[in-house]
């Protein structure tokens, strides 16, 4: 597989994975809001920590993809 095809596959996979994680975060927000309104405050902090970890995973994946992209473009020059 050449580098361009690898890059395409990488970006597609990362987009799909990041989208999946965003859906999980949406569920976390709705579950946390539901818990807050029903007075169950014990789950709010774990939900916030989990959401933060997922956001960091997303950020790491994006940085990895951009780094890969930059390296490929530099090599192509």
């Amino acid at each position: 597989m050449d580098t361009t095809a690898r890059g395409t596959a990488l970006m597609t996979a990362i987009c799909a994975f990041v989208g999946f994680i965003v859906i999980i975060q949406l569920w976390l927000v709705s579950a946390a809001l539901d818990a807050l309104l029903s007075g169950d405050r014990t789950v709010l902090a774990p939900a916030a920590v989990a959401s933060l970890v997922l956001a960091l995973v997303n950020g790491g994946l994006l940085l990895h993809a951009l780094h890969f992209d930059r390296a490929v473009r530099r090599a192509a020059r």
Partner: protein, 181 residues
């Protein structure tokens, strides 16, 4: 340098003009080709999703902060609601607790036990009413039904149970002593 300028986007030439001569007025007002306007690279999508992910994490943090430091329910106070003899079997009585803005309902079930719940439906905040023939609390707005025994939802759109008002009985007085979320 943008992604399109780097050359990884397909060539998006402006739409050919239908005829020679001066450009029509609408094309002068909207010079961006339709295809280019709607083109989003995977890279841009990933950035957008990651930004959304960060915003969702921030929203979760705000919810946790509100839960940690937000306004809590006022401390429970003791309030005499009514005389127990005033509520017959299958009957109900409306009252306010813990503040005048919190409507509640006191019901006496078929078993003769007095129970009290918030009257605010957990779906969209309509007022629930007691249906003595079925021993349940009914929300007429969207036909939500709650158990008159423990307040849990048993039909319709509500998913959370009604808050329970803890009551105590002194002689013939029914006293509200607290509210469970």
């Amino acid at each position: 340098m943008s992604d399109r300028q780097r050359g990884d986007a397909p060539a998006l030439a402006p739409a050919p003009r239908a005829q020679a001569g001066p450009a029509p007025r609408w094309r002068e007002d909207f010079p961006v080709p339709w295809a280019a306007d709607h083109y989003v690279t995977r890279r841009e999508l990933a950035k957008f999703l990651t930004l959304g992910s960060a915003l969702l994490a921030a929203a979760n943090g705000v919810i946790a902060a509100v839960g940690r430091w937000g306004r809590r329910a006022p401390p429970a106070s003791r309030t005499v609601i009514t005389k127990a003899s005033a509520v017959p079997a299958g009957g109900s009585l409306l009252f306010r607790y813990p503040t005048a803005d919190d409507p509640c309902i006191l019901v006496r079930g078929d078993d003769g036990v007095l129970r009290a719940f918030s009257q605010v439906c957990t779906h969209l905040s309509c007022a629930v009413v007691h249906r003595a023939d079925r021993d349940e609390l009914f929300c007429p707005c969207h036909h939500g039904v709650f158990s008159a025994t423990d307040g849990r939802p048993i039909a319709g759109p509500p998913t959370r149970r009604l808050p329970v008002i803890r009551i105590d009985q002194h002689d013939d007085d029914v006293v509200a002593i607290g509210k469970e979320p």
